[in-house]
Symmetry: C2
Subunit: 409 residues, 2 copies
């Protein structure tokens, strides 16, 4: 008799963004004419850069002709893209990563969930709190999180690393032993980033404790602070303890195009459940070869375009556009008396909710201002009392939203 | 201390097609000028249909303009595509499937691996033998297969369902209890298909034993026999025990474009590990929402095009081209004295290898004729003594290959 995975029953509520979509749809049904401004889900609004459009058209044309048609590609990505990534994102910063350490995928969301397939049976996971819900939910689904404890406001087997105003939204090292530590900087949802010294402390902890660091730097392009680290691999020894995830979703407006990559260094070795000495690079290669068929050729040509000189210029302009939105939001909200964080190294503004209850603030903002944001509680216990606004709307909508909230922009 | 998933150590050898690629690359290195004809990996060679090209260009143009730009789409696929799929592939055959039972994905390979995340802890899996290696390897990686037994030629926890010339390559019902049964018809690698009565027996078995059927019909478009079932959902009651996987890879030459779909009926309910009554549809919805970000908008527009009247005509022409290749291969090989199966309802020809050893036949064919096929042993114990040739090469290469092997085509 077939029985389904019982761990799904441990999931708390719906996926955060589905729940937001549900509330917005319900409001819209009741107020059909409402002019809703969306600053909730972190989705981009600017069109693709011209260099990407050209590259996509060219690739589509190649697929129309038997002589240039491409079928199955390498599951890990075409060399042209892996080489372009290494040159622009690593070599240019003096970081030694080789193209075959880069695994192109259809999204960091997929990678971050899929990477768990490499974890041994009793792996203990440490998560930042607040955190991108996918990190937590995917661990619940695989049974690593344990039961949800309502009083504690968390899953019993997860080691939570609170990120608060007190620690500048960079957590202390784990107080309970953790085998895997997820770090995301520049951070979603807080919009804050980490210093090189702080990141170094995590790398040293991981090396000493033989822990694995999963470093999500999907928002790297938005870093404004010249001293902030762009990659975990800037830190000595990280290639022996860390995997890095990057995404073109925000970097180049690829949320609907789907391209990301993971860097799994060849130096990253560990024991497996059986006591064998294994390479996580080899395991990920095998995983991707067996369970994935690569990113569309057309998409990979589009992605390649952003790594050219002209492409880089074009995506930096778009990133600057969003970061100007972030400045507008920060300044307006501060003028209106809100305490705000983030917005300098990431396109997210993390504001303290007056009264504390972030879902109540969500409903109030939706009902009275027709603005959608994301309640901090949706990101974890330490997110309660905060509210995320994104800078990904159009300039016009950003200004209109600020006018609605603050009476000025 | 982090420990890696020890089940990877139970995998036997490399992924089959990686091993083939390795042997071919090694041959090429030794014989740089060799004119190799590839009939190994089942990759298509015809360019995309004109309707797809047009739709892709149009969608790329939409992404260039803020007014028509699309960011994150629904993780389950856009309604326009789900509705087109239902209309063409189900409603037109009198099968009652609703668009929200269709989950669009980037590949059946991914779906077939990912679906295991819905399986409970002690799920026993039954696999056809020979079988598409992904079914077996993904179960090994998650610890469901157990150890490999060299003498038995299989994994200890897998229930094998031998498909041989004796049973017409359709297995008997499982003799040991199995919770999940993978069926693939029209079949890769044997090229054979199943009758409605045989499929009905499996559905009845699943309903009686509360087993789950995973029905892979990626080669449905190639069915030539007017009586062969196109979908498991043609069988009464299948919507309470089966999930169907389809792919556009072979249907429309999408191996490099990446689009597939799974049909998970809402009537499909079962117990979970905790004794709860759950809907596999709801669980898959949650899984896809949490761990996947949908198929590129551009791809989905390209996919939609094949479901139009003109699109359907264009892809049927391409399918007919490959099936003509299949006929050429069957006839030539038979004339040359080989015993062949398949090739009538699927673009695969399954031939008996003289001498029996299929890797030896692979090497011989590569070394003496510069032709790449796939050794049956790579698909499982019952595949030994057979060899798979695909009809996906160009007509010219198919004819040249037959000339090399048989001295005639």
């Amino acid at each position: 008799m077939f029985r389904a995975n019982g761990y799904y029953a441990d999931l708390q509520g719906g996926y955060l963004f589905s729940e937001i979509a549900r509330r917005v749809a319900s409001y819209q049904k009741q107020h059909p004419g409402a002019d809703i401004i969306r600053m909730g889900i972190g989705d981009v609004t600017r069109p693709l850069a011209p260099c990407v459009i050209t590259a996509l058209h060219n690739a589509v044309n190649e697929m129309a002709d038997a002589a240039s048609f491409r079928g199955y590609g390498p599951e890990q990505g075409y060399d042209f893209l892996r080489e372009a990534i290494v040159a622009a994102d690593y070599r240019a910063r003096g970081i030694s990563i080789t193209p075959d350490e880069v695994f192109v995928s259809d999204g960091a969301k997929c990678d971050v969930g899929n990477i768990q397939e490499l974890f041994g049976r009793d792996t203990v996971v440490a998560l930042m709190d607040p955190v991108y819900p996918v990190y937590a939910d995917t661990n619940v689904m695989t049974g690593r999180a344990g039961k949800y404890n309502k009083e504690e406001g968390g899953y019993e087997n997860i080691v939570y690393l609170p990120c608060t105003a007190q620690n500048g939204f960079v957590p202390d090292l784990p107080k309970r032993p953790a085998d895997v530590i997820y770090l995301c900087y520049p951070n979603n949802p807080t919009g804050m980033t980490i210093t090189r010294a702080q990141l170094k402390a995590f790398v040293e902890y991981a090396l000493e404790n033989k822990a694995l660091l999963l470093y999500d730097s999907a928002y790297e392009i938005f870093i404004g602070d010249p001293d902030a680290p762009h990659s975990v691999f800037e830190i000595e020894g990280a290639n022996r303890c860390a995997i890095e995830f990057r995404s073109l979703s925000k970097t180049a407006g690829f949320t609907g195009v789907r391209c990301a990559y993971a860097v799994v260094p060849k130096a990253l070795r560990c024991r497996d459940d059986n006591g064998g000495d294994v390479s996580l690079h080899d395991m990920w290669f095998r995983r991707q070869s067996t369970r994935f068929n690569g990113v569309p050729y057309i998409t990979q040509r589009g992605a390649e375009a952003i790594f050219s000189e002209e492409g880089r210029k074009q995506i930096l302009e778009i990133a600057a556009y969003y970061m100007q939105n972030a400045r507008i939001i920060c300044q307006s909200m501060q003028k209106a008396g809100y305490t705000v964080y983030g917005g300098l190294n990431a396109p997210y503004i993390w504001l303290q909710t007056p009264g504390g209850d972030s879902w109540a603030f969500f409903d109030e903002l939706l009902n009275t201002k027709q603005i959608v944001g994301t309640p901090g509680a949706g990101f974890g216990k330490a997110g309660e009392g905060y509210f995320r606004m994104t800078a990904f709307a159009s300039r016009e909508n950003t200004l209109r939203a600020m006018e609605r909230i603050c009476g000025q922009a």
